[in-house]
Amino acid sequence: MNEKNSIGAFQLCCLFFVSRVLALFTFILPESERLAAGDRPLLFLSFFVFGLIVLLPAFVLCKRKESVFDLTDRVSPNLTRFCAVLFAIGAVWNAAVGLARVSLFAGTVLFEGVSLTLPMLGLTVSSVIVAVKGRETVARAAVIVAGLLIFVFLFVLVTTAKDFDVANLEPPFENGVLSFMKQGLLAVARTPELGALLLLAPNVKGNVRKSTSLWLLFFGITASASFLIITGVTGAFGERQMFQLYTLTTLSKLGAMERMDDIFAAVWVLAALIRTAFFLGLGGESVTRVFPKTSLKHVIVILGAAAFGLCLLMSGSVVTFADVLASDGNVVMFVSFIVLLPVVVLIAERMKQKRERNRLK
């Protein structure tokens, strides 16, 4: 293992948390895709189970301390190049989705009715700067940001819990268990961060499988608790708000400290910064697999520019963006990248090994 570029399993989980929490805060989906209010508090169960299933191939890689590229290298160097390009595209796409989420959120809440090109450019440039500083930097910063986010979460949940009304809740499984399971699977599919395990497996120190499993549970419970409080406090009003968690923060108050929502919302900017830097870093590393002589710094700058361009395209309309997020293409992409690809490569590598053994015999 390369100690220099290694990050701890705890740091990786903090990275996942920070990255995924951004999606939770800026949760935008078309009305048709909305999860039944009664199912939300139990979502963590299906999220955890499906998360574990989806991560099985990644866990195999973690055990072998090999990245997916190490395997593809053994199968065929061309396959490595192909996969690296796909991963780089995926990373840029996810970075752009994160930026677009922030853009729509900031355009609605923080800077109403103004062009957000400049702030988003600022965020992208900052993310590129952070990504260039390296994976360790991003991971270390993620630990601190995760701590800050958990504090904000707890503050909001604790200070709003007094307004919790059981009558606001809805019974679970109203749309049937199948719908509940489907939503759990979709929630996992909206966690592209998990794909990082396939690339970072050899560079993560500590018990990755245990940490990631605990993270799945922790994040699931955090999301469920948030949804429970959101529904219990804001009821039908919250249901009709575009950013429900943000709506909850607007109700949070402690003594003279009221309406801290914009400050809390700005904390989410830190999460966006880390998330974008993380994905740009991953994309950069994938590209340097294809072009080993290229400077990582330059690649990250180019990927950042691409992500910024995509973000501008996506964040034009909330409806379009919500449809993009809800499209089945995301699920297909997630399953292909994170489940099928490693499984196929693992099988191909095993078959190749077998063939070589037979040839030697």
């Binding site: 019974p171 679970p172 499984f173 009821g235 009003f237 919250g238």
Partner: protein, 369 residues
């Protein structure tokens, strides 16, 4: 050198965007800080009355801030609000508004449309208080010639009314949630202005169907409503026993609801009341013995049970309003039976209401050690 030039260019971009409202920032002096909003409606649209801080006439060393009244008309509320910037040259800031007051006309026409504006406006507080007034809201704050009532005083009246069992205050998001739910009933306090003393009181409650003000409770029914909600605090209740009249302060009334979803639909409400004797009208100065205290407790129990039953009868039988959100609770507890019951459950429950009040008299005013 390249880096320095890059940093310098970035710095210049930043400086050019600073102070030019490029990202929607405004100096505080350029904002119209709205403290209270009054909304009336008629056939021509909406009349918006705003009580806003008058920064130009504020003495920076003084603790009081003069306010000014502004009125805007518009076909829609958005129209009316849109006129503010044009008329004053200032950007309205709704977040500091302490409450939104609807005139009778607007409340009877329906609060759906005006509240929709506030739901979509992130700048406004979700927890701003909602209230109605019998007359037009535009006159409520005073007129340009008369002395105005400060928004702070009106807010205080709502707070104290709520804290003394005289009215039930409600924030915007709760009002909207109740309005949006098919089974629930939205409500808000009614503000009354004493023209002579220029003061405000808040002591009744307005109830809404489909966003429209349809029913009004008197003081006793408001108490009953608050008891049903478990929100009756610091209310003053007078009871009569053989020993004379006792005035008690209900410190707290904790409510517990049990629903049974079997053939005999029942709602069992347990209310635990803690009260203090604050006055004993007996013509002299007497201490209270155990017997008197028990008698007072029984009388209070009887009185509160009567208030509760009357309130339940009015809301559930006469008005067909689910003010305790029983339907939703039932749905949560028995989701399978919910579909078969539907709204007829309210009628079933109206017949099966059982309430138990337990009273603890905590202080009698002259405790013996």
């Amino acid at each position: 050198m390249k880096k320095i030039i890059c940093i310098f260019i970035l710095f210049c971009i930043l400086l050019t965007s600073v102070g030019c409202d490029a990202l929607g920032g405004h100096e505080l002096g350029q904002r119209l800080i709205i403290e209270a909003i009054g909304i009336d409606s008629d056939e021509n649209g909406y009349l918006l009355t705003l009580q806003a801080l008058d920064l130009k006439n504020t003495d920076p060393s003084g603790s009081k801030h003069p306010t000014k009244l502004l009125r805007f008309r518009g076909k829609t509320l958005g129209d009316a609000f849109g006129g503010i910037a044009g008329a004053t040259g200032l950007t309205p800031l709704y977040s500091q508004a302490r409450f939104i007051l609807f005139g009778r006309s607007a409340a009877e026409t329906g609060l759906g449309a005006p509240l929709d504006f506030f739901m979509r406006e992130y700048n406004a507080r979700s927890d701003v208080l909602i209230a109605v007034t019998d007359g037009p809201a535009s006159d409520f704050f005073g007129s340009d010639d008369n002395e105005t009532i400060a928004a702070e005083e009106i807010e205080l009246a709502m707070e104290s009314g709520s804290n003394t069992g005289q009215c039930a205050k409600i924030p915007l998001y709760c009002f909207v949630s109740l309005s949006l739910s098919e089974s629930d009933t939205a409500y808000c306090p009614i503000l009354k202005k004493d023209e002579k003393q220029n003061t405000v009181t808040c002591h009744r409650t307005a109830f809404f169907r489909d966003g429209k003000w349809t029913d009004t409770t008197d003081e006793r029914l408001t108490e009953g409503f608050l008891l049903l909600q478990g929100e009756l605090k610091n209310a003053t209740v007078t009871v009569h026993t053989n020993d004379g009249a006792f005035t008690l302060r209900v410190i707290n009334a904790e409510r517990e609801i049990k629903l049974s979803g079997d053939a005999n639909s029942q709602i069992i409400m347990n209310v635990k009341v803690v009260a203090d004797v604050i006055e004993y009208e007996s013509g002299g100065f007497y201490d209270l013995g155990e017997e008197e205290v028990n008698a007072v407790g029984s009388a209070l129990k009887k009185e509160l049970e009567s208030i509760l039953k009357d309130a339940f009868q009015t809301f559930y039988t006469d008005w067909n309003m689910d003010v305790c959100r029983l339907f939703r609770r039932f749905r949560l507890l028995h989701p399978n039976k919910y579909s078969s019951y539907n709204y007829t459950i309210l009628e079933d429950f109206a017949d099966g209401f059982i309430c138990y009040v337990s009273v603890t008299v905590r202080r009698t005013g002259r405790e013996q050690m």
